[in-house]
Symmetry: C2
Subunit: 256 residues, 2 copies
C-alpha cells in the first residue's frame, strides 16, 4: 500500500475533521494528514473505517460506540500530549468539522499549554450534509439570511433559549437533539407557526442516511414513526420547505 | 495527465463546493466530480485554479473577478440547462459550501423544473476556515452553544436584525459584511458589551489569509488599519476570545 506521505511531521497534533459520513467527504488535506499519521485517535462520530486512510498509524478508538463507557476527555488529552512528546504525529479525527461542538477548544488549550504544535484541518459538518441530502440550500434567500447551528446538549444541562433563536428568522440546525425532540419542538411552537417546515436527517452524508420532511408541529411524531434516532440533525425554517418539492421531484442524486 | 474519472455521468449538473481557498480543502468527492466534468462553471469566490482539477472540462468563469460585470444569475442557469441537455456533465463550482449563501436554492429549482438531475457535493465554508486560522473552536462550550452564519447582504438591501442575533448568545459569523463593518458593529454595540471579542479573517483558508483579533468596539478600525477587505468573515462572540491566547502561543500551524 502506498501512503503518499511526503510531509515531514513530527511531534505535533492534527485536529482533523472526518466529515459527516462517507470517507470521500474528507478533504484532500485530511487524506494527506491521515497518510502521515503515527497515532490515530478516532472519535465517536467519525467514520469507523477512517483508519484505512492511515496505514502507518496505530488506531485508538476513543468513542463510546458499542455501549462502552465514553473515554474521559482528560484521558484523551493526556494521550495526545504523551504521543506528541514522543515525536509522533497524532491525528485526532472528529466527526463533522472539528471546530463545531467537538471540545476542540479545550483540546487546543491543553496542547498549547504544553507547547505542542496544533494543525487544524477543516471538513464538512453534518448540517451541510443534511441539506445536501434534502436537496436544498440552508439559506434560500427567499426565506432567511442565515443559519444557526446549535446544540441541544448544554454543559449545564440547561436548554438553549429557543425563543431567542426563533426570533432571528434564521434556519435552525439542531445537533444532538433527538433524545429531546418533542420538548424542543414544543418550545419552538411558542414562537414559530405550527406549519413551519422541519426535517430530520439521520446519518447525513452516509449510505445509511434517512430523511423525514414535515412541519414543526408534526416532526417529532413523524421522525419517531419513521424510527429516526441519533445521530441526526433537526432542521427548522422556511428554507426547509424547499425540500418537499426537491425530494418529490426525484431528480436529486447524492454522489458525483 | 490521468483523470481518475471512472464514473458514468451524463446530462446532469453537480453543484460543487470549492471550499474557502486552497484546493486541498476540496473533498475527495469534489475532486472526483471535477475529474469527470465536461463543463466547469467557476464562481466568483472559488479558487481560480480549480480548472487544473478538471482537465477534460471547458472552463467558463461566471464571476465578476477582474472588474467585469457579474454574469447574471438567469444566464448562468440557462448555461447549465443548455449543456446538461446536450448530455454533458456540468460542474458548477461555488466558493465555500454551495448550500450557504450561494443562490443554490434558485439553481436547484431551475434545474428541477427542467427535469435535470442535480448532485450536490459539500465542502468547507469560509467561517470554519476562519476559525481554523485563528486556532479556535467556533463553539467553545465555556462561551456559547452555537454559531450563526449570517449574510450582511440582503435581497431587499435591508439589514439583518442584529439585536435578535446578539440575543441568541451564539458566535456570529458574518459573511459579506466588510463594506459595512462599521455599521454592523455599531448596531451590535447596542446589544453586546464593547469588549466582546471580535475578529476579521480575510481570504480564510488560503495562502493570502490575513487575520485581525480585537474587540467589538475596535474591530472595524483595526481591520481598516490592517487593510483587510473583502472577501472576509467577521467573527463576534466570547468564543473568539480564545484566539488571543491561541495566536500569541505561536504553536498553530495551518496545514497538515
Amino acid at each position: 500500500m502506498t501512503t503518499h506521505c511526503n510531509v515531514n511531521v513530527s511531534g505535533k497534533v492534527t485536529l482533523l475533521s472526518a466529515g459527516p459520513g462517507d470517507l470521500d467527504l474528507l478533504t484532500l488535506r485530511a487524506a494527506r494528514a491521515l497518510a502521515c499519521a503515527d497515532i490515530l485517535l478516532i472519535d465517536d462520530l467519525a467514520n469507523a473505517d477512517i483508519d484505512t486512510l492511515a496505514p502507518n498509524a496505530r488506531a485508538i478508538r476513543v468513542g463510546k460506540r458499542g455501549g462502552c463507557k465514553s473515554t474521559p476527555q482528560a484521558f484523551i488529552q493526556r494521550l495526545m500530549i504523551r504521543y506528541a512528546k514522543k515525536g509522533l504525529h497524532v491525528v485526532r479525527a472528529k466527526g463533522g468539522d472539528a471546530l463545531l461542538f467537538g471540545r476542540a477548544g479545550e483540546e487546543i488549550a491543553a496542547l498549547r499549554d504544553e507547547g505542542i504544535e496544533v494543525a487544524i484541518v477543516n471538513g464538512v459538518s453534518s448540517g451541510f450534509a443534511a441539506a445536501a441530502g434534502l436537496g436544498i440550500s440552508l439559506t434560500h434567500r427567499d426565506h432567511c439570511q442565515g443559519v444557526t447551528f446549535v446544540t441541544a446538549h448544554m454543559q449545564d444541562h440547561g436548554q438553549p433559549d429557543w425563543a431567542a433563536l426563533a426570533a432571528t428568522g434564521t434556519t435552525l440546525a439542531i445537533y444532538m437533539g433527538m433524545s429531546r425532540i418533542a420538548g424542543i419542538t414544543t418550545a419552538l411552537l411558542a414562537s414559530l407557526p405550527a406549519h413551519t417546515p422541519a426535517a430530520v436527517v439521520q446519518h447525513a452524508g452516509s449510505a445509511q442516511e434517512k430523511r423525514v420532511v414535515s412541519t414543526l408541529e408534526r416532526i417529532a411524531d413523524d421522525a419517531h414513526a419513521a424510527r429516526l434516532g441519533s445521530p441526526a440533525v433537526i432542521l427548522i425554517g422556511g428554507a426547509i420547505g424547499e425540500a418537499q418539492r426537491a425530494v418529490s421531484a426525484k431528480g436529486l442524486a447524492h454522489a458525483a
